[in-house]
């Protein structure tokens, strides 16, 4: 147990003294998760909204597919994105394998089903009186869309938090697509995996603490929003 205790003390030392390697991994994680969250929200909210509000043939099949993708293993996403972005892959010409945009593509694919599914659910569970109320108050279709998004705002933020939690804690995509390159694509999770493998528990624990603080913050926000959404 001594090595664990030693790891904790070392962890606080690294964080307190501003160890560049540790903070590089933290910064990389913040940067890449921000990119993938922005893309997931921009693509996912309109798709989820359309899925929730419209009735069309094959909707149930599409919902089942999206719900299935919620539990898509990150290593499988990593493998597929790697295959597409590698030099012999169809998107190899973009040259983004082993770069942060490449990781962001993979993490966007990871976050999208969560945003789409939870946005669709949020829209489906809105009060049925909302649409006729907005119509009778004279809102145009565009005004109705914005008002509906605002009415579902707490649930949409909940969806964003859930997606962020999954994105920030994944390791498979970052490892396979990013390559875990020091100072470039090394994220908190890939750094933990590497340092633990090397027996460097202190760095791993330091990064683990940061990740847990982030997870705690996200969870607290989710709980708060859940209460407000009721």
């Amino acid at each position: 147990m001594d090595f664990l205790l030693h790891g904790f003390f070392q962890a606080f030392h690294l964080l307190w003294t501003g160890d560049p390697e540790t903070y590089s991994a933290i910064w990389t994680t913040v940067l890449v998760s921000t990119m993938s969250m922005a893309a997931s929200l921009l693509i996912g909210i309109p798709l989820g909204f359309s899925l929730g509000i419209n009735d069309f043939k094959g909707k149930k099949i599409l919902r089942t597919l999206v719900d299935t993708l919620l539990s898509f293993p990150t290593v499988v996403i990593g493998l597929l994105v790697y295959a597409f972005l590698s030099r012999q892959g169809p998107l190899g010409d973009f040259g983004i394998l082993f770069t942060l945009p490449g990781v962001a593509v993979g993490q966007t694919i990871l976050g999208l089903p969560i945003i789409i599914a939870l946005t669709a659910t949020a829209v489906e569970t809105l009060d049925k009186r909302l649409k006729p109320t907005l119509t009778t108050l004279g809102a145009t279709p565009r005004q109705m869309l914005f008002t509906t998004i605002l009415e579902a705002r707490h649930s949409l933020m909940l969806a964003a938090m859930a997606a962020y939690g999954r994105i920030v804690s994944e390791v498979g995509i970052s490892m396979m697509v990013g390559g875990n390159i020091k100072w470039h694509t090394r994220t908190i999770t890939t750094a933990i995996a590497l340092e633990t493998g090397k027996g460097e528990f202190s760095v791993g624990i330091a990064l683990g603490i940061v990740l847990m603080v982030v997870a705690l913050g996200v969870n607290m926000c989710v709980s708060g929003l859940r209460k407000r959404a009721r």
């Binding site: 109320t133 119509t135 009778t136 145009t140 279709p141 009415e151």
Partner: protein, 218 residues
């Protein structure tokens, strides 16, 4: 010459195998207050939704200003306004709720109109403007929703059980508000209620419905 504001012709509507509306002819004159009463499930609310162009009949037509209109959001919804039986308030403040219809119309001088509408339904603007939707009682919700319609000064205002959650005093306030909007803005009204005494005090004509049909006009 046809002088009706709104007209229902040969309307027949069913939910499954149950006929909910079967009306040959029904007119709403400009500036009138039409009352409709009848037992539960006789088609009163369905008729109001059709007059508000929120639902289309299976057969027949509903005309407003002599023309048919779509049930998708369109300009007629800025002239005809419905207050449902259990009104929905946006998850915002009373000010935002009452001002919503004015905002979507890009109207100027919103604040004094919101205050005036709240005053008409017997709510003190200084006390209520900042309140959130969840801080209102059932009766207050009803009155805020009515204020959100009155503020729009529509050509046709349809009220479904507007006094259902209100006490005697508030019912009198609503009656005064209804008379005022008709007098000052020339708004025509159709009011559905079970409160026959209240309807008699304000409406002419008064229509009794049964099993989707208009059986008597007083």
């Amino acid at each position: 010459m046809n002088t009706s504001l709104c007209e229902v012709r040969n309307v027949h509507h069913t939910y499954g195998s149950r006929t909910v509306l079967d009306i040959d002819s029904f007119y709403i004159k400009p500036g009138s207050i039409t009352g409709i009463t009848g037992p539960n499930g006789c088609g009163k609310s369905t008729l109001l939704r059709m007059l508000a162009f929120l639902e289309k009949p299976d057969r027949g037509v509903v005309l407003f200003n002599g023309a048919e209109h779509d049930i998708r959001p369109n300009p007629v919804h800025r002239e005809v306004c419905l207050l449902g039986q259990e009104p929905y308030l946006l998850k915002r403040s009373v000010r935002a709720n009452v001002g919503y219809g004015l905002n979507v119309r890009n109207t100027d001088d919103i604040e004094p109109r919101i205050r005036e509408a709240l005053h008409m339904v017997g709510l003190d603007a200084d006390d209520f403007l900042r309140r959130m939707w969840h801080e209102l009682s059932g009766g207050e919700t009803q009155r805020v929703a009515l204020a959100a319609r009155l503020v729009l000064r529509p050509k046709l205002l349809l009220l479904d059980e507007p006094t259902a959650n209100l006490d005697e005093k508030s019912s009198t306030t609503i009656r005064t508000a209804v008379e005022q909007i008709r007098k000052t803005d020339g708004t025509s009204l159709v009011i559905v209620s079970h409160d026959l005494r209240w309807l008699r005090s304000i409406c002419s004509p008064l229509i009794i419905m049964e099993r989707g049909e208009m059986v008597e006009t007083a």
